[in-house]
């Protein structure tokens, strides 16, 4: 299991995956808007998205939990 946390403060522009989705390594989970940029938040390793903790429009702080990935 791997937790994906926000690296920086920002607002959630788009949630790209849904709970239950199978993801590879380096797949985009959500797109964060920060510093007037659209920054994809990606997986490190493949797995299944077991939890998405944010919705579009949410403001996240550095360190906030974004998603949980179960490794298969």
């Amino acid at each position: 299991m791997a937790e994906v946390h926000a690296e920086m403060v920002g607002s959630v522009l788009e949630v790209v995956v849904a709970e239950g989705d199978v993801v590879g390594g380096n797949d985009v989970l959500i797109i964060l808007e920060s510093m007037k940029m659209e920054i994809p938040v990606v997986t490190e390793e493949p797995g299944v998205v077991s939890k998405i903790e944010v919705a579009e429009g949410d403001v996240v702080q550095e360190g906030d939990l974004i998603a949980v990935i179960d490794h298969v």
């Binding site: 690296e7 920086m8 403060v9 920060s34 510093m35 007037k36 940029m37 659209e38 920054i39 994809p40 990606v42 550095e62």
Partner: protein, 475 residues
């Protein structure tokens, strides 16, 4: 001593499979080209073996701890060997590689061993910026054996390597905390958190391979042959949406002849630092990585970049700086982390550097971060910009919102957006934009993505080699 020598000879005579992988002689033999190892002193009970040899033909000095003797602990005799190896490397002006597997200073020798370990530190510091120093850590490197590698230019950690000041037993007895050696000082903490280690490898073979590559990159830098530099069209690497972040690694790999050795890949990943070659010549590449923290500079990345710039400058390695930076990361966390003090290190490092240093602005170069990323004002040799580049204090819209706050507030709401857009266009003409940057001389030339490699290689070929006269303090 004679007995040990005979034993070493006996094991050496056996087949490759029977060699003890922890034997320092084995390790030195793997590091060097086959048959080139010449010991600087006969094997003894000091726990250290030293030698000279060649790596891809380039002469290199090396020393290795012997973990089979008192856990590789460092006493007066072993330290004397290391100091002698350093004297040899400095005299011959060749890189020195330390192969570490040591519990630290020899307890049984008391203060004498502390004094000796301190003399090793002093030798390393005297050699700093004079000859490249590379450390490979294969097993525990504790106490004095931790600070040894930490004083050198580049630290490679093999999977079983552990670097810490005090081990789990001491931690438990002092703080009551239960912690493993891996959690204290294994690959995970040192690759992501501490910045102690430049490269983590999955095994010893890979660690040797990286040490050999870095030895040659720094020990035999070569000369640029611009004719050998094939062009690559980089434009497909930038997203169509200028606001969209992207991974800068393919761009850095493409600028180099072949992918180089990335240093600190997981620590402060918002800036990428790579040693590689362009047209056959060693260069150091720094690049903002928009994929991480939007490519912003922050306290840690500025410090990482500053140390890299100073190392390259000390060894005469030209720099290529790829800029796409929206600014410094704002926030209380950054200010309290010392983004001002640590960011100043990067300004200092670039401003003092005497090596040829080329800047390439691919997209954004905004604000204080624009200055810090090897701007003309800090002494860049040449500043290129792609046609997509923006050089400004901040984005035009953000700027007019500050500069024309009252005018915008006074305008009727339905006209505000249009007014903002026209003010922004006007502002861009006067204050920002590439034309103005060229007029001011802060950008020398617009270069097309598909002509970039040749442009960089020509500058490298034309500039006079230079080298900073300073050490490389581990910032």
């Amino acid at each position: 001593m004679t007995v040990l020598d005979n034993r070493a000879a006996a094991t050496e005579a056996g087949t490759g499979e029977t060699r003890d992988p922890r034997d320092p002689r084995t390790r030195l033999e793997i590091l060097f080209d086959e048959g080139t190892l010449r010991l600087l002193a006969p094997a003894d009970l000091s726990g250290v073996l030293t030698g000279v040899g060649r790596v891809e033909g380039t002469p290199v000095v090396a020393f290795a701890s012997d973990p089979r003797i008192q856990g590789g602990a460092m006493g007066a005799d072993g330290c004397e060997h290391i100091v002698h190896a350093y004297d040899t490397a400095v005299r011959e002006r060749v890189p020195i590689v330390g192969l570490w597997h040591s519990g630290g200073a020899r307890l049984a020798e008391g203060v004498e061993s502390l004094h000796s370990v301190g003399r090793v530190f002093a030798a390393m510091t005297r050699a700093s910026g004079v000859v490249p120093q590379i450390s490979v850590v294969f097993g525990p490197a504790a106490g004095g054996a931790a600070y040894g590698p930490a004083l050198t230019d580049l630290v490679i950690l093999s999977e079983q390597g552990r670097i810490f000041v005090t081990g789990p037993d001491v931690v438990r007895s002092v703080t009551g905390e239960e912690v493993t050696m891996a959690r204290l000082g294994g690959p995970e903490p040192h690759s992501r958190r501490s910045g102690v280690v430049h490269v983590v490898t999955p095994g010893d073979d890979e660690a040797f391979a990286v040490a050999r590559r870095l030895s040659v990159l720094l020990g035999h830098q070569g000369r640029v042959r611009p004719g050998d530099v094939a062009e690559v069209d980089f434009s497909p690497l930038l997203p169509e949406n200028p606001r969209r972040a992207y991974d800068v690694h393919p761009l850095v790999d493409g600028v180099l002849d072949e992918p180089g050795v990335e240093l600190h890949p997981k620590w402060a990943p918002n800036i990428v630092t790579v040693l590689g070659r362009i047209g056959g010549r060693t260069v150091g590449v720094l690049a903002n990585n928009p994929m991480r923290l939007g490519g912003c500079l922050d306290a840690t990345s500025a410090e990482k970049a500053a140390r890299f710039v100073r190392m390259c400058d000390a060894f005469g390695v030209p720099l290529v700086v790829v800029v796409d930076v929206p600014g410094y990361l704002p926030g209380v966390g950054q200010e309290w982390d010392g983004v001002v003090r640590r960011g100043a290190k990067l300004l200092h490092a670039f401003a003092e550097a005497t090596v040829p240093r080329i800047t390439l602005v691919t997209r954004k170069a905004y604000g204080g971060a624009y200055v810090a990323m090897n701007s003309r004002s800090l002494g860049a040799t040449r500043v290129f910009a792609w046609p997509t580049a923006e050089v400004a204090v901040m984005g035009a819209v953000a700027a007019v919102r500050v500069l024309h706050r009252r005018t915008l507030a006074a305008a009727p709401e339905e006209e505000r957006a249009a007014l903002e857009a026209s003010l922004a266009a006007e502002h861009e003409k006067v204050a920002g934009g590439l034309d103005r940057a060229i007029e001011l001389g802060v950008v020398d030339e617009i270069v097309m993505p598909e002509k970039t490699r040749g442009a960089i290689a020509r500058v490298l070929a034309q500039t006079t080699p230079a080298r900073g006269a300073h050490g490389n303090i581990p910032l």
